[in-house]
Symmetry: C2
Subunit: 156 residues, 2 copies
DNA sequence: GGGGAGGGTTTGATTTTCCAACTCACGGAG
DNA sequence: CTCCGTGAGTTGGAAAATCAAACCCTCCCC
């Protein structure tokens, strides 16, 4: 009997199914920066226009962006993040921080984020309960779905 | 003269160039869980074997995973995260948290992470300097690259 | 010498991407 | 009025990536 054909049930996978396609998170980046217009997105992201069209549709369907007209006659549209979209911004910040640290030297960061506290933003992922920085060795995974352990599917 | 053809220089984009392809972050998830063997990855991720092969190669080249033999004769390999790979785990946790909150109800989370502090892990992205949770409205972007503003490229 | 694993390749059919060109609806300049 | 430019996409076809299934090779065990 062959093992289960279904992959591990996982919110990481489900989230990536919405925003994990090429360009999707860059669309969110631009929209969070306030650049919600089609041609701006094309220029700043460098994506083909048709791909951008499908990504935008998907993100709107997923409830991550909204499309609103900023002008009737002539009809002109703008994409803006929803609350759910804004709540993905920390993911972007965390990705940016990793890239700055691993792919660049200190003085060649392409963008610096300033926090309202007056300092340069360095995002840190912490545990809500204790406030400590999250580190791999402090984590233990507990699968909740019957049929799945950390190691994999049980008894097909 | 048409506007620049180059997209915005950005560490988010550069990081996604390494780990943004389909399955790559799921590979990292499994490897962080300790499931570094080829057939485990195939089963738990549900990716085609050939694609997995190319993803693994890319992640190793990027310095995010290493491939080590856990047995000579017969040769058997295992992929493990490097330090850089482990430092991407917070990104995964943040994605998981978003998915749990937006795509699920409280009682159907597929996986719960336990923090060493004894509590269930709820990852929060905070500012290193002030410790406050990062929220969109507290951020200001400062592009560092000549030719680029928040809005886009300047003077082609 | 047959039957598994484990760790991949190969093959061929389907999907996606990509890029350039095209459309349509206006608004303004001449 | 005609031409030009802008915004927001569509369309068409070639090139690349994905997919599923089958295949291969090396061992180990009986």
């Amino acid at each position: 009997m062959p093992a289960a054909k279904t992959p591990r049930p996982c919110s990481i996978a489900d989230t990536l199914a919405l925003v994990g396609e090429k360009y999707s998170l860059l669309v969110l980046r631009e929209v969070c920066l306030g650049n919600g217009r089609f041609d701006q997105l094309v220029r700043n992201i460098g994506a083909p226009r048709d791909i951008l069209t499908t990504r935008l549709r998907r993100l709107v369907d997923a409830g991550i962006l909204t499309k609103r007209a900023y002008s009737e006659r002539p009809q002109r549209f703008e994409y803006r993040p929803t609350q759910a979209g804004l709540e993905l911004e920390p993911v972007l910040m965390t990705l940016m921080e990793w890239g700055d640290r691993h792919l660049r030297t200190e003085d060649e960061r392409p963008m610096v984020m300033e926090h309202v506290c007056g300092n340069e933003l360095v995002p840190v992922v912490t545990c809500r309960a204790c406030g400590d920085e999250v580190r791999h060795e402090d984590l233990t995974a507990h699968p909740q779905v019957p049929g799945w352990t950390v190691k994999g599917p049980t008894a097909a």
